[in-house]
Amino acid sequence: MLSSETMTVPLSSSLPVVAAAEAATPAYDENGVDLSLVRYSLSLTPTQRLKAVENFMNAMASVRIAPPPSDSAK
């Protein structure tokens, strides 16, 4: 359970910290590239990166062979 002290911390006092953190590690670059995805991908090993590609390929293959939805499912 939260203490009353925690619950009464003014929101404005924490905003500069959040803003500073966001400025230090921007989420997007000037082209709109999501840098959090870039950083996540870089945190993986090459084998894990290949597995991600493989999972995508298999997902696409399963979509291709999936039967069309029946009328009752529409």
Partner: protein, 164 residues
């Protein structure tokens, strides 16, 4: 249902000692770019012995021409050419390239590749910097569309102390 197994694809190529470099979207992904693709592109060395090894590897993978109902396998005479051979194997879609843009060969890029350990195999993967240069030179819409992600990845990597 086909279940793609890229680890097996690399294993067979490595076991047959095929000289090749992973290029294209999978190279970008292996180098850390958050991109997804539906096939593996390899650039192989056009040399008699390597063509025999590649033919053996493709045979083990049951490679046939993709999109051709005749399910034709790839022979050595076909592999001798610098063109692109688009294959479907039992481990996944594989584009087997004798050259890039009919001008860039294996020997031109092998010095710009990194050797990475992937699923237990040491494989040559085109460097991110060279991949960006190639895509800039090709300048096709699909290549240019990928450039911002590749360049952002390169910038982030250069800001990091860890390698690929």
């Amino acid at each position: 249902m086909a279940v793609f197994d890229l680890g097996r694809l690399l294993l067979v190529l490595s076991e047959e000692q095929v000289e090749f470099i992973i290029v294209g979207g999978v190279a970008a992904a292996l180098q850390g770019a958050p991109v997804l693709t539906q096939d593996v592109d390899i650039l192989y060395r056009i040399e008699q012995g390597n063509l025999e090894r590649l033919e053996r590897a493709l045979s083990r993978l049951h490679a046939v021409a993709r999109g051709d109902a005749r399910n034709l396998p790839f022979g050595k005479s076909h592999l001798m050419t610098t063109g692109h051979k688009l294959a479907m194997t039992d481990a996944g879609a594989l584009d087997v390239l004798g050259s890039i843009n009919d001008s860039v060969l294996y020997d031109d890029l092998v010095g710009s590749s990194d050797e990475l350990e992937v699923t237990g195999q040491r494989v040559k993967v085109l460097s991110l910097r060279r991949l960006i240069e190639l895509k800039r030179a090709l300048a096709r819409p699909k290549d240019l569309a990928m450039l911002p992600v590749l360049e952002a990845t390169l910038r982030e990597r250069e800001g990091c102390t860890s390698g690929p």
